[in-house]
Symmetry: C2
Subunit: 459 residues, 2 copies
């Protein structure tokens, strides 16, 4: 391993130049005019994987932008297999005029690489290609077996990977998934995301009269679907943020004192967080801290609502129909199917008979939480301490990464989310950047993780 570490340190400039070339390809997955660029990025990556010593390189067309697969499986049958996931596509760069340097002409200023995709996720993904190379170009072998599955549709929620996984369980079989697509707390404070909230997404349609009525002629005699919808939504979550669906909290796994302490020990600047959001106050269940509400508590939000006359000006209409999009974030051990059922049943129960209500569950993903005492978590902790001389913090994040739930549900795989971004990397915004020392530290941490994981897995 020492040779691999030394190789990585000696090749910093070469590794940087390669990343800059990767970042120069405008692989914007949502724009049809960039389709050739997305393909070029996949091919560029496949070529560099091959140069780094990976084998069985495949560029897979599964309907949308290509998937890239590669592996190196010669560590031995007793050694564990690490499946590395990442994405080579990027968000659109608009508005271009807010960029201080062009988004696809990567430039380095004050130790940051400025480019679209620098942090999300090309820079973080490419770390692991360089980890493999460092071993294979020195020791000639890796301490673990490695597979890569990289997609080009993460930023557009494409289906290529989602349909590929269940049809290729054997190809993707592994002992753990490793993803670098999250952030550290600060340049010297590593962070491991150990939980993600799940999600249930529902459409609720309330219909009253068959066609829009005049509110002067019918108001007071026909229940207005917009007023009825307001009562339904107000009945789902109280003004303090408690969800009122019976049974909703039943399976929420209680936090141990230890877990609660870990969650709350994460350095968090509430004031600047609130300022960035622009909201007048933070808000939510008063029995829980803000950081608990954002990561380890389930919640419910109306994501969209439309009904009646919504153009400029006024019209006295009693609308026939109202549509709401409502989603819930779930935490372990809530079951998305069960929550969807409880949600539907409760709405049907509270909806008045003077309107018709239809509830459709249109998407679910399970909450994810890592077992804190697994060999992978022990190994990644050790690797972080060796590189940063500091214990990583364990974060449970509020968002959902559906592919992580799919790795868990379909492949029965634990995922380790070891991120090297920073909270102010401006991902999805102008002037996205990646902290250059994190790139180099990431490669060292990856090298150390493979070695430690082989050891912990054996022991």
């Amino acid at each position: 391993m020492e040779e691999a570490l030394k190789f990585a340190q000696q090749n910093q400039e070469k590794n940087l130049q390669e990343l800059l070339a990767f970042l120069a390809i405008p692989s914007v997955s949502t724009k049809p005019e960039h389709k050739p660029d997305v393909k070029e990025a996949a091919e560029w990556l496949a070529l560099e994987m091959e140069r780094g010593g990976l084998e069985n390189i495949r560029i897979i067309d599964n309907g949308g932008h290509p998937l890239v697969y590669a592996d190196w499986m010669h560590a031995g049958a007793d050694e564990p297999t690490v499946l590395i996931y990442g994405h080579y596509d990027v968000q659109p760069a608009e508005p271009f005029d807010l960029w201080l340097s062009p988004p696809f002409d990567p430039q380095i200023r004050d130790d940051y690489i400025y480019a679209r995709g620098a942090s999300d996720d090309k820079g973080q993904l490419y770390i692991h290609v360089k980890v493999v190379e460092a071993y294979l170009k020195t020791v000639g072998k890796l301490p673990v077996n490695v597979k890569f599955i990289v997609e080009g549709e993460e930023e557009v929620g494409g289906m290529s990977l989602e349909t590929f996984i269940p049809e290729n369980k054997e190809l993707l079989a592994a002992d753990v998934v490793l993803i670098s697509d999250t952030a550290m707390l600060s340049p010297d404070h590593p962070a491991i995301v150990c939980g993600l909230r799940g999600n249930v997404y529902a459409f609720v349609d309330v219909t009253g009269p068959e066609h829009d009525l005049h509110s002067g002629s019918y108001g007071g005699g026909i229940n207005n679907p917009l007023n009825a919808m307001a009562h339904i939504i107000a009945g789902l979550k109280d003004k303090e943020g408690h969800i009122l669906i019976p049974g909703f909290y039943d399976r929420v796994r209680p936090l141990s004192d230890d877990e609660r302490q870990i969650v709350n020990s994460v350095p968090f600047d509430e004031e600047s967080w609130l300022k960035e959001s622009g909201a007048p106050q933070s808000w939510g269940e008063p029995e829980y801290s803000l950081i608990e509400r954002l990561g380890v508590r389930p919640t419910l939000d109306v994501n969209g609502l439309i009904g009646g006359y919504t153009e400029t000006g006024r019209k006295t209409v009693l609308p026939a129909h109202v549509h709401a999009k409502i989603s819930m974030r779930l935490v372990p051990d809530q079951d998305p199917e069960e929550i969807g059922r409880l949600f539907s049943d409760y709405i049907k129960q509270i909806a008045p008979p003077s309107v018709r209500v239809k509830v459709s569950i249109v998407g679910t993903s399970a909450p994810v939480v890592s077992e804190m005492d697994s060999p992978a978590i022990s190994a990644v902790t050790e690797a972080c301490v060796q590189t940063f001389d500091r214990q990583p913090v364990f974060l449970r994040e509020g968002g959902s990464i559906p592919v992580v739930a799919q790795f868990q549900d379909t492949l029965n795989l634990e995922t380790v989310m070891l991120g090297f971004g920073l909270p102010d990397d401006h991902i999805h915004s102008p002037n996205e950047r990646f902290y250059l020392p994190n790139y180099y530290h990431g490669i060292l941490t990856g090298i150390r993780f493979f070695e430690a994981y082989a050891r912990h897995h054996a022991g």
Copy 2:
């Protein structure tokens, strides 16, 4: 008067042909391409008024489609003056393919005239032109002084008349306003509208974060403006239809037992009314009958609401901003300015500090109620009994006709709403029609009203 009645009966065919010519002009006020047709209808009407013996004919351009004024003021200074209001513009006829005969090629089938505007309002308005003619072509004089003010922007809510009235108080000075733009209960059961609800229209804007946030990352920590709006709306009116704004009902004039009996004695087929609306149930304040809730009780409706992601599919957004349009129908003696103030104050009181709320009152009109013992009501009752051999019912309608409130507020004039339409005339819909016997009966009733009004006014 007998001569006038006889003249009207002898000239039915001529009066019908004139109305058919009026209906053939497509005076669709909302469509720019029909602007010349609207003008033509005004000119046609002015000419027929002149032919009928009316004087001082004026076609007035007050910014939008023209107003038509005419009068006959020779009844004598002691006789009262009746101001007749109507509108010669019509709703668009789309969808054309649902018409059994073309909307502007009037045809008669089974005693109905089928044409756009037949009932609303050309047919009803033209009745009064023919009433005047019947007197002037026979007796040579009218028992009362008469003024007409007819507009071409009723269906588009234009401002020409609204700005004309306060600037022409002397021109429009009268003792009573007569409007035929409402419906009878059935062909043999006349109806007089003696009350209209007023209106307060408000925009409510709830803003949380400064820009849309990801509901996975912020849900549970930032109050969602859509959820907050639902709580605000649910706080305005309870599930049974009671308005919760403090002081809202304070000035609602209690119905006397007599008034309540009159209101409830109106024949009303709740089942077919409900079927026509398409709603699963009627609904509203359980202490009041449906017909009371529709006419004599104030109410509150959300007319439109939009926020968050409303396109097809799903997006996990915690929206920055939500817009609602909310209107209230008022009854005597509620004051629209006061209600607007109570509404704004209450919303600011119940809105949580975790969001920002802006309330704008964008329109008000006062409720209207006729004095039941006025000379005009006595006269119109007598005229109805003479023509239909039946007492008219007195209705308080749920809708608002802003010009009636303006006549009341600006000119201090009582309005008599004597309608000759029928509930199933399909106004604003394909196959609008006017029951031909009602046209002829309307002219006879109008003749009798002038005579009776002169008598009751003197006595």
